[in-house]
């Protein structure tokens, strides 16, 4: 729902790095987005096309890698991936678990032309 705000933040970060590295043009951005982040790829792409027009990032491709959600049980240390409904530890049934992956929304790298 707030993809516009995060896409603006993405454009700002990418532009800063592009200018720092004397880029003429940014050709692609490599993103890591966790499944728990609530960020919808299509929406990011939609806003990206709109707000990056006429900037150094115009027409840059968004390469989005998805990070699945992972939990670690604090009782028995079992690590497990989550797809579907929230569930207790599959090994011991404990609900004392921590998220260890899936929250990410990272700009990992950009590809530029000089």
């Amino acid at each position: 729902m707030h993809e516009l705000a995060v896409t603006e933040s993405l454009l700002k970060t990418a532009t800063e790095y592009a200018l720092e590295n004397d880029a003429k043009k940014v050709t692609s951005l490599n993103l890591l987005i966790g499944t728990l982040s609530g960020i919808v790829d299509d929406s990011v792409q939609f806003y990206w096309d709109m707000i990056s027009a006429d900037t150094i990032c115009s027409q840059a491709k968004l390469n989005i890698e998805r990070q699945p959600a992972k939990f670690k049980c604090q009782s028995c240390q079992t690590e497990y991936a989550l797809d579907g409904e929230l569930s207790p530890c599959p090994n011991c049934g404990s609900v004392n678990i921590r998220v260890i992956a899936g929250d990410e929304f990272l700009l990992q790298s950009i590809e530029i032309e000089k």
């Binding site: 929230l86 700009l107 032309e113």
Partner: protein
């Protein structure tokens, strides 16, 4: 022309997180406790804020930052009527408050003598979870009529909170709400989080909330920086 890959690995929304950190430092400097109230529309954010002011205003200086998506002052007017300083933030359609909006709200208030700042977030169970504001305590108000499955459907909002208020307990006889199922979802997301059941309407359980909040305000008031 040459092409090149620039390694970055930067968290998007880092700028918001940094500003949130600065907001929190400004609150800390004044020994002011800031709480961020999140909930779906209609869960009872404003009602609980009003009950909280009624219960605590004799002992503490309170100020309120109201967030709304439309230029209305319905909630702010209710707070103002209790004689409490309040500032209204219109997000202009945005689905959440962010740290910059809260900064503007803080600038509109004189925080010097204030013990407690209550920030009423936009009614939404999704977006407010992603934007830190600088608050010390994040609270979600759930309510009986919303149903017991909300932790499973909107998990993120329950994860960074210090207190879960379950409101409208007076409606329990009329609504199928499985508290054990609800609580299990909360525990998975946020083990050990404080859960307080109350009814803003009848006042049942309100003292538990007020006493919990008093302890947090007092701890902040007497905290050494």
């Amino acid at each position: 022309m040459s092409t090149e890959k620039v390694q970055i690995v930067e968290k998007i929304l880092d700028a918001n997180d940094q500003m949130a950190e600065e907001n929190q430092q400004a609150f800390d400097k004044n020994h002011t406790l800031a709480i961020n109230i999140m909930a779906s529309p209609g869960a009872g954010k404003t009602s609980l804020i009003l009950r909280t002011i009624e219960g605590l205003a004799k002992d503490y200086q309170i100020a309120v930052i109201e967030g709304d998506t439309a230029p209305v002052t319905i909630d702010a007017d209710k707070v103002h009527a209790l004689g409490i300083p309040v500032t209204q933030i219109n997000t202009g359609g945005d689905c959440h408050l962010d740290a910059l909006m809260v900064r503007k709200g803080m600038q509109a208030l004189d925080l010097n003598e204030v013990d407690l700042v209550i920030i009423e977030n936009v009614g939404n169970l999704v977006c407010p979870a992603a934007f830190k504001l600088g608050s010390h305590i994040n609270v979600v108000i759930a309510s009986i009529p919303e149903g017991d499955d909300k932790p499973y459907k909107y998990p993120n909002i329950y994860r960074g909170i210090q207190c879960l208020v379950l409101n409208k307990t007076d409606l329990k006889p009329y609504v199928d709400f499985n508290f054990e199922y609800f609580e299990k979802g909360i525990q998975i997301l946020n083990p050990g989080v404080e859960i307080i059941q109350l009814s803003s309407k009848t006042g049942d359980g309100l003292d538990t909330w007020l006493n919990w909040l008093r302890a947090q305000i007092d701890a902040k008031k007497h905290a050494t920086q």
